[in-house]
């Protein structure tokens, strides 16, 4: 009965996450536009984009690319499903990673140099954000004694009180995953960069639509991870997420795109250092 309930929760969560992800993406574009003193697109714009891309004539370069797009979407969906089914955090993390890896593999399977450079940069980004997320998960495990999400909901004080530095590290990882400035290195929303849309260049039509949905799901998953830091009250959770996302938008709009060298030196290093300090602190108070 317990398992059935969890499965049901996972399915409902996944369906909801898709809509929330698209909505967040629309809100993101609207607020970004307003920050740039523009009117901005309608809130439902990401849905229109995805529907349109779904209806485009197929133009895939090879079968591997199509397969990779499906696998990326499935991995992202599965990780969100597992999150809402309150599964193991480590498992969720690995499933999420599989999605990112397949996206890169698809980009590497074609012959375009833009796609290749984008894929290499995406791998470097993964190299940066994955240790940070893993350290956050370790921190949570150290605090609660278990990798399960249910154990976090059992806490009576928010995680943020004991893990503020880890939250900052998670914020860095979140910015990279969102593909926002200064970390829109492998791909960017508008494609105004030297490698066009980088890792996404060769995905077209339906495949691009799937990757877009996968991206929404990844964003929801990472917001979910952030939400664990204030699991005690719904209002606090919502406020934390709103502040976090607004901070992301703010950083996106006040900074230029930087290079992967800087990302590894100035994002991974301090991120890991912050996380380590927090982990030591957690170890000390135990």
């Amino acid at each position: 009965m317990m398992i059935l309930g969890k499965l049901l929760l996972g399915v409902i969560g996944l369906a909801l996450a898709t809509f929330i992800g698209g909505f967040i993406s629309g809100l993101d574009r609207k607020i970004t536009a307003r920050m740039q003193s523009r009117f901005g697109p309608p809130l439902a714009q990401p849905f229109y984009d995805v529907l349109k891309l779904w209806g485009k004539a197929p133009m895939a370069v090879n079968a591997w690319l199509v397969l990779c797009a499906y696998l990326t979407l499935m991995a992202s969906a599965l990780s969100v499903f597992l999150f809402f089914a309150q599964s193991d955090l480590l498992l969720i993390f690995f499933v999420m990673t599989i999605g990112a890896v397949f996206q890169v593999m698809g980009a590497l399977s074609v012959n375009s140099p833009f796609s290749h450079v984008g894929a290499q940069r995406e791998l470097l980004q993964m190299f940066t954000y994955e240790p940070l997320i893993i350290l956050v998960i370790i921190g949570i495990a150290m605090h609660t004694g278990s990798f399960s999400i249910a154990s976090i909901y059992a806490l009576d004080t928010p995680l943020l009180y004991s893990m503020p530095f880890l939250y900052v590290a998670l914020g860095i990882a979140f910015t990279i995953k969102l593909r926002k400035s200064p970390f829109d290195i492998s791909a960017s929303h508008h494609g105004h960069q030297e490698i066009v849309r980088g890792v996404l260049t060769e995905y077209t039509g339906r495949q691009l639509a799937m990757l877009e949905v996968a991206h929404w799901l990844d964003v929801v998953l990472l917001l979910g991870l952030c939400s664990l830091f204030w699991s005690t009250s719904a209002i606090g959770l919502f406020l934390l997420l709103a502040v976090t996302y607004f901070a992301e938008l703010f950083v996106d709009n006040v900074s230029a795109r930087l290079t992967w060298g800087w990302m590894i030196k100035r994002a991974l290093g301090p991120g890991v250092a912050l996380a380590m300090v927090n982990l030591l602190w957690l170890y000390a108070i135990k």
Binding site: V117, H190, Q193, V196, L258
Partner: protein
């Protein structure tokens, strides 16, 4: 390490123009940059033999849509020189006003594109928003936003009335106020500095030897500005060439941004000194002989050679544009930089391919 060949252009989102650069890459480092031109060649100079010298004004305006007014002005100066026409003072001042407005909108455009080149979208939007104010002035005073078609042989076509001059001054005040924080961002922001300082360094000697021009040359420490020749009304206005000494993309950005403020100042001076009088002198007969003229375009020195043989059609119109001079320095700057810095360096010379290839 295997070498990869990355095509940069002819259709590329960072560079709106069809410059094709074949970048030979080793890892993410550029080993060699091979330019391929000719995507935009129209054969405009050949039209000179089929259009009369008055019609050519409108043709040379369309050499480049960004600095159209300055092209037309340089060509008109050449024909006026051949025919011995004295442009009325009011027309001289009006030409200065429009050419400085063009310099401002061109520099703002470039600054925006440059910001977009390193992924600073909100700065791009903010600079282009300011630029629209200049475009509104162009539209209201000359009748079109970009290609204003105000210069004719012997003077200018249209006047700016006194009421609108006050409006221009008001707009310039707003522009200046809006640009101050953006200047601060462009020059002092940590992320922007990371992307521009030390990128694409051109030393003082190199810049001179490779024949760079305009802000690219002035960014390397040479006070070389054609406006100091004092053509049109520039000899009555007070200004100093903007010079920076570092020779990198940051210095060139600074030169251009400071030139925007300089242009605002020049327009103010010109409006204050604007004399009354006729707009154009009548043109009779056909030009004969050959002449060269030089003016300062937003991108550097613009050079016209015109040869006329007494018929209405000029026999030869030869244009040497600043981007043509700036391509050799660009190719010297590119090897050894990261791929991420290529747009920054390519844009830092402010390439105008349509000027170069005509």
């Amino acid at each position: 390490m295997a070498k990869t060949l990355i095509p940069f252009g002819p259709q590329h989102p960072v560079l709106p123009e069809p410059l094709h650069l074949k970048l030979v890459m080793e890892d993410e480092i550029v080993v060699e940059a091979i330019p391929a031109l000719g995507y935009i060649h129209r054969g405009l100079e050949g039209l000179a033999t089929r259009r009369d010298f008055n019609q050519m004004v409108y043709v040379v305006e369309r050499v480049c849509g960004i600095c159209s007014c300055i092209h037309a002005m340089c060509y008109c100066q050449a024909i006026e020189g051949l025919m011995g026409l004295k442009v009325p003072p009011r027309a001289q001042y009006l030409r200065v006003i429009w050419s400085e407005l063009h310099r401002m909108h061109s520099h703002l455009l470039w600054l925006g594109l440059f910001a977009d080149g390193f992924g600073f979208e909100s700065l791009f939007m903010a600079l282009w928003r300011v630029r629209e104010r200049i475009m509104d002035i162009n539209e209201a005073t000359a009748g079109n936003r970009v290609i204003i078609s105000t210069n004719i042989v012997g003077g200018v076509r249209t006047d700016i009335n006194t009421g609108y001059l006050q409006e221009i001054l008001r707009t310039l005040k707003t522009v200046e106020a809006e640009l101050k924080p953006l200047y601060d961002t462009m020059m002092n922001d940590y992320t922007v500095k990371l992307r521009t300082v030390g990128k694409g360094v051109l030393t003082k000697e190199q810049a001179w030897q490779l024949g760079a021009g305009g802000p690219t040359l002035r960014g390397s420490g040479w006070a070389h500005d054609m406006r100091t020749l004092g053509y049109e009304a520039f000899h009555e206005l007070d200004f100093e060439p903007v010079v920076e000494t570092d020779g990198d993309a940051y210095a060139r950005t600074k030169v251009r941004f400071r030139e925007v403020f300089q242009s605002i100042d020049l327009v103010r001076q010109a409006i204050a000194k604007l004399p009354d009088g006729i707009l154009a002198v009548p043109v009779k007969g056909n030009p004969t002989g050959e002449i060269t003229t030089r003016v300062e375009q937003p991108r550097g020195e613009l050079f016209y050679y015109v040869y006329c043989n007494g018929t209405p059609n000029p026999e030869r119109v030869r244009i040497r544009t600043p981007t043509f001079a700036n391509i050799p320095p660009l190719l010297a700057m590119l090897p050894g930089v990261e791929l991420a810095d290529v747009p920054v360096i390519v844009l830092s010379i402010d390439p105008c391919i349509s000027c170069t290839e005509r």
